[in-house]
């Protein structure tokens, strides 16, 4: 066979593989949305869940998921940035940084249920935090941090070395070069990583069952006092998230409309993640253009 023919065959194989990926993705998304979207209503989004009767909503679970996500990112982003910057811009290649990288990799392949049990033993029991949003956020930080750190490190590394030399040759310190030149240039990559990890956090269930708990106590959305037990902002209250709710409704719920609730909740979960994705991408592009002055 000649080169041209081989090229055709190779292109065909590649197209087929890509089509398979897209097909699987579209099938899953389509199935979830097709089954769930018709059952999503304003009432469903804004009313509390019911334990025994039909017609319950997901108001608290949806809020808990978002709140937990925000808390987790607040905890993990500074640590991830610090570690990523250290590994990419400051650390020299030696056995110590190799050890850090290996640990990060091992940590990232830890099953989330193990992270959950570890969080249960350490935060919930030992440190007496109880089933709480805070325990959940710390457990999710453990779960999220390795990939986030890795991603930030890679994004920073992918900025050409010429940029660092330019900064150095103009008398900028390593810190200034990193924060004012390298970090802005790496921002789109870091943002993509953050979005991906936000999706993982938002959809995580196993690590939260043992840390944030499976109950959603009624909270008062007009109580802004973080320390009040009934406040929606209190990080020390137990909080069932949307993903945990889906799991629970499917396993131990006695509500007659369990099927409806789980499919509608799944659709909401997917839609929220899609909104994050598109929104963050849009914001990231805008930010990048503003910093780099490209049109």
């Amino acid at each position: 066979m000649n080169a041209k023919k081989w090229d055709h065959v190779a292109s065909g194989v590649i197209y087929t593989l890509v089509a398979a990926v897209i097909l699987i993705l579209v099938a899953i998304l389509g199935y979830i949305l097709f089954n769930g979207v018709p059952d999503i209503s304003w009432h469903f989004l804004t009313s509390p869940a019911q334990s025994f009767s039909a017609g319950g909503g997901i108001r608290d679970q949806l809020f808990n998921s978002l709140y937990l996500l925000v808390l987790t990112i607040i905890v993990s982003l500074p640590i991830g940035l610090g570690a990523g910057i250290y590994l990419s811009e400051y650390a020299s290649d030696n056995w110590f940084t190799d050890l850090i990288r290996t640990s990060v990799e091992v940590l990232s392949s830890l099953p989330s249920v193990v992270v959950g049990l570890f969080g249960y033993l350490l935060f919930v029991i030992k440190l007496n935090l109880g089933f709480s949003i805070l325990s959940g956020a710390i457990a999710l930080t453990f779960f999220n941090l390795p990939l986030l750190t890795r991603n930030i490190e890679e994004s920073l590394r992918s900025v050409p070395n010429l940029q660092r030399e330019a900064g150095m040759s103009l008398g900028l310190s390593n810190w200034k070069t990193t924060t004012k030149i390298i970090l802005p240039a790496a921002l789109p990559g870091i943002l993509t990583g953050l979005i991906l990890s936000a999706g993982r956090i938002f959809g995580e269930a196993a690590a939260l069952i043992y840390t944030a708990g499976q109950s959603a106590p009624t909270v008062d959305y007009s109580n802004w006092n973080v320390f009040s037990a009934t406040s929606f902002l209190n990080p020390m209250r137990p909080a069932e998230t949307l993903a945990v709710h889906i799991w629970k409704v499917n396993t131990e719920s006695v509500t007659p409309d369990a099927n409806l609730i789980s499919s509608a909740s799944s659709a909401v979960l997917i839609i929220v993640i899609l909104i994050f994705n598109l929104g963050a991408r849009f914001l990231g592009n805008k930010l990048y253009k503003k910093i780099t002055a490209t049109k």
Partner: protein, 264 residues
């Protein structure tokens, strides 16, 4: 390759004032001895070219002069600048680099606007007055012969410029710092002939105010623009003399072979 006696060299004493001098400079990459005993003086307000075959150490030598080899290689010996040894560990390297600027082989503007590319490093040196920043912006872009081409687009991204314009922006960025010495590491090797000649013209104007040291492997370029030329071979400075002498009356056999194309 022909063998030359590398222990022999001809290093001229320059009559001009000195911008920089190196004394017994040695550079090591790990166990690899890259520069042997470099002793030479760079004149003020002149262009000095460093020439030699690839791997002879000319870029390594150049990068020592503003401490860009820190963390990359071990540099022993003295580099005297205004009677101070800037190769000493006690020296503030960031300040050294503000006095001794550098332009690299590949243009490396920051992913910022043209204006920010020049103003941002200036602000870092503590200049706050907007008038002064704007003045230096215009002055440096004029100095690098770029002003007329970009004066209406100062807020556009520097990455949208052509390669030659980007390189002149990098020169402008360096001279905006008002350095004493400008180090250029093959600044035109990635550019087309028109951009190259623009950069060469720019350098001729700049040497009135700056001492320029340029690494090039383009021999015509060295003979066209430089006042002094140093020829390096295998990490040794073999010959250092006025450019006219190096190209027409070389004292060393290796230099003669290299400039006449009989090398290797």
């Amino acid at each position: 390759m022909k063998e030359y006696n590398l222990n022999e060299s001809y290093i001229t004493d320059i009559p001009e004032k000195k911008a920089l001098s190196t004394k017994n400079l040695q550079v090591y990459y790990g166990d690899n001895h890259a520069i042997f005993d470099a002793n030479m003086d760079f004149p003020r307000y002149k262009i000095t070219a460093l020439i030699g075959a690839s791997g002879c150490g000319k870029s390594t030598f150049l990068r020592c002069l503003n401490r860009m080899n820190d963390k990359v290689a071990r540099v022993d010996g003295n580099i005297m600048y205004r009677n101070v040894d800037i190769n000493s560990p006690k020296i503030n390297v960031y300040e050294v680099r503000q006095h001794i600027g550098m332009v690299f082989q590949r243009p490396n503007p920051f992913a910022k606007s043209i204006r920010e590319n020049i103003i941002f490093p200036l602000r870092n040196t503590g200049i706050k007055s907007n008038d002064e920043l704007e003045e230096r912006l215009e002055q440096s872009l004029r100095g690098a012969a770029l002003w007329d081409e970009v004066k209406d687009d100062l807020n556009k991204s520097a990455l949208a410029l052509s390669g030659g314009q980007q390189q002149r922006l990098c020169i402008a960025r360096s001279i905006a710092m008002h350095p004493d010495v400008l180090l250029l590491d093959e600044p035109a090797s990635a550019l087309d002939p028109i951009s190259t000649s623009k950069i060469e013209e720019t350098l001729q104007i700049l040497k009135k105010d700056y001492s320029i040291i340029i690494v090039t492997h383009n021999l015509q370029q060295a003979s066209r623009i430089s006042d002094y030329t140093a020829f390096l071979h295998l990490g040794h400075i073999v010959e250092y003399n006025s450019t006219a002498n190096v190209f027409t009356k070389p004292k060393m056999q290796a230099t003669d072979d290299y400039v006449s194309g009989n090398f290797g």
